[in-house]
Amino acid sequence: MATPVQWKIKKNPTVTIALAGNPNSGKTTLFNAITGAHQHVGNYPGITVERKEGIINLKDVKIKLIDLPGTYSLSAYSDEELVARNFLVNEKPDIVVDIVDATMLERHLYLAIQFFEIGIPVILALNMMDDAKRQGLIIDTDKLAKLLNCPVVETVARSGRGKGHLIRTAVHHIKESGKTWKPIQISYGAEIDLVLDNMTEIIEEQQFMTDRYPARWIALKYLENDSEIIRYGKLNGKIAEQLEAIAQRTKEHCLKTLKVLPEAIISDYRYGLINSILKQDIVIQEKSRQERIDFTTKLDSLLVNRYIGPILMIAILYGMFQITFTVGEIPMGWLESLFGWISATATLLIPEGLLQSLVVSGIIDGVGGVMGFVPLIAIMFLMISFLEDSGYMARVAYMLDRVLRIFGLHGYSAMPFIISGGIAGGCAVPGVMATRTLRSPKEKLATLLTAPFMPCGAKLPVFMLLVAAFFTEYKAQMMFSITLFAWVMALLVAKLVRSTVIKGASTPFIMELPPYRLPTVRGIFIHTWERTWQYIKKAGTVILAVSILLWAAMTFPGLPTQQVNQYELERQAVSETTQGITEQQQALLEINNREGQAALRYSLAGKIGTSLEPLSRLAGFDWRTNIALVGGFAAKEVIVSTFGTAYSLGDVDPEAADTLSTRIAADPSWNKFTALAMIVFVLLYAPCVVTVVAIAKESSWGWATFATIFNTTLGFGMAVIIYQIGTKLFM
């Protein structure tokens, strides 16, 4: 045991506990269980890239809990590892709770050993004990604690079991250890130990960075060729060169005599220590070898199979859309009836005039159009939450790596694509930000430029509306095809940019596949509700406000008095000359309808839409569609609400079709190919304002501008091709 180091710690009544652990050890779940924070738990490796804090009180002790990024070691190999290490060194928490997957003790203890080496007080949380028991593993926790010389507490993060005991033990251990760092010394064999002793002596003599790290640990990092320590050392003293020279000599010697690098030897010895501990009857397998064949391995042999895996993946995706439409149709009908009733009631209660038009056409028909899709969105989110929490999404990313590689992307690109809506219903903003996990700047750029092609949650209502209007018989098939088309376009564009403007070699992909877990019903419902609530909230706030503004733009300045008088004269003429009440009503309705259409065309938005028509007609888009698409630059949901208002303002026939999709289907300026062109355009055209800002933040404004112009041009070009070929050949 090395000399204990007493760090100078400010008198602080708050106790700081850092939660550390390998990715997918259940760290974030435990953090949520302890702090009660509503934070999503998925199976993406490295979900905790950012720092998260929670405050809890235990009697008179205030505890600050820090959720560190998931790491495999404390080397400077990845940003996450560096972030975790720097936190320990700079902020010196009172204790580290290392969350260890009880089913994979050997691998997870590797990180624990490194905590022991740096010397920080540690307590082990033996998590997923329920899984361990299911697998027939019997773990002697007391013996493990004795051998590791640190407290070990059994936990089940998913149910919160053991969390109270864990925190109480941690607080007790802080009091016992007196906030003293006690680095342990592991033997790395005679030769390495000799070098380490020599280096430690030099470091201690010169007090080289010893205010931050234990001396032997610094020496170890030099031998491990830790880039961060070497860089930091260069700034801190002349002996850095001496230490680098010793490390270099050791490296050459190891390569010459053992044909391995010193870091490999160090790693081997650490695993050797872990094995020697575990072999002392720490883990006993209860069941026979045959029974030990893990459920995850069995399931993976099918779900990640080279040939069957992709087929099953496509089948799952297709099944998801099929269920969404089949089940969602019923509550969607209820919502449509509800909005119809609200609209009729508002018409009765509010006197005829501007306010009535605003409430009925602007608010109810505009926002109602977006709200009507809530059941479909909720059902889809429910299934996506199940897939995420079960661990299947990580398999999807794994399988997609093979495909992504062909197109110049990386396995890690799968996650930004999925987050952006690759399985439908995500958002490009976090998708673009998730590209931070890509280390190669070129692969990152290619990913963030193509991720906005995915069918995000905001585009879904547009697709659902058009699919319901024109492809009634093939709803699920169409939604499935749209998703596949988005992937094809993203991959082709990625290939294009990787072969032209952002050329460069591919980097290797390593990914951990977490074990399958049966998601909890509560967890799935919380995640579904959070997403659905965000959708409802957005429809009731920003989309509502935008709908009001678009209504104003579609209403003002109103028809000139001369034209209004003209329609009034027409109405008078009909009243005086036409025989029969039904015929008269029909004729008056026709005049009112023409007046409504004329007023809409004469409005500010109508003029903008009409001015774009000469160009947009090539893709089959009329002036009303143009208004909706311009509004979609702000947020894609606006497209549906604008249609709702536009068709409500222009359509004054109370006997006309009642839902927005049937109104669009009944419009003679629409056909199947217009709908297809529109779907493709919405899928590909400029990302929404917030995504553009996110792209600029992650790359540059130049690339953000490129994404806006290129995507719009590509989307329009594709829409024109589809519309022109479709109408010329098939109509």
């Binding site: 720097n86 605003l358 995500g426 958002c427 959070e530 009001i548 304002v689 917030v690």
Partner: protein
């Protein structure tokens, strides 16, 4: 000539315009510092959700 209809409608439009400008400003500001500003419906699987970003700034 004074009209309640026009007055109330104008007030609603003005409030909506103010809200849109404010939301857009807030969203863009947050997106430019690393948060997303709640501009989407996917917060539950988003590690950059504003509620996390605001309270817990990144480590570095």
């Amino acid at each position: 000539m004074f009209s309640w209809d026009l007055t109330i409608t104008s007030m609603i439009i003005a409030a909506a315009a103010f809200y849109v400008v404010l939301s857009l400003y807030r969203t863009i500001k947050e997106a430019s510092v690393g948060g997303c500003g709640g501009g989407c419906s996917a917060c539950s699987h988003c590690k950059f959700a504003p509620q996390n970003i605001k309270k817990n700034p990144p480590l570095r």
